[in-house]
Symmetry: C2
Subunit: 105 residues, 2 copies
């Protein structure tokens, strides 16, 4: 049932859901954007991401670590794993689309 092309886009419903479970939080894309440049410490995120509260930042960082997107040395900075780096094409496409169709506020 259903067209084949649909299967090609989303073989199992979970694929997109999987990406969304990582990217579907308010500040995650911004955190990842920072990490694509270089590893960062807690206070560096606080400086570069305006208006994020320590509670939320901590929450996002924990989630991302649990999901294997980032890793942190004993008390070192946070860095992307390979899995995290592989998110880059998505982020770039989103930035692409977003700059073509900015939300007018």
């Amino acid at each position: 049932m259903g067209r084949v092309s649909q299967q090609q886009i989303e073989p199992t419903t979970g694929c997109i859901a999987s990406a969304m479970s990582v990217l579907g939080h308010k500040w995650t894309a911004l955190i990842l954007r920072d990490l694509l440049v270089s590893p960062k410490r807690f206070c560096e995120f606080e400086k570069s991401i305006d208006n994020i509260t320590p509670r939320i930042l901590s929450q996002r960082l924990s989630d991302l670590e649990e999901q294997g997107i980032i890793e942190v040395s004993s008390n070192g900075p946070y860095a992307l794993t390979q899995k995290g780096q592989d998110l880059m094409p998505i982020i770039k496409q989103m930035a692409n689309w977003g700059s073509k169709y900015p939300t007018k506020i």
Copy 2:
């Protein structure tokens, strides 16, 4: 301040936020996936997207129409606009990543 490459990825913070304001809802990616195949009617979504309630479906459809992602003829089916079709690369990248790193449930 900051590295140049960061600017290249996300020139203005709003770019990614813009994409997320469209894709950041639970069922949106699935609705769009269906529309990438061909225009669909309300009941067709209800059949192909398991467990979505009419209220949520209606809400998503309205949002997407307001955002100019989809359009609907007088009482015809819903179809993607150009703006909506331009989301395809994002969806494909998400599906890509998601199939490489499926969420184990």
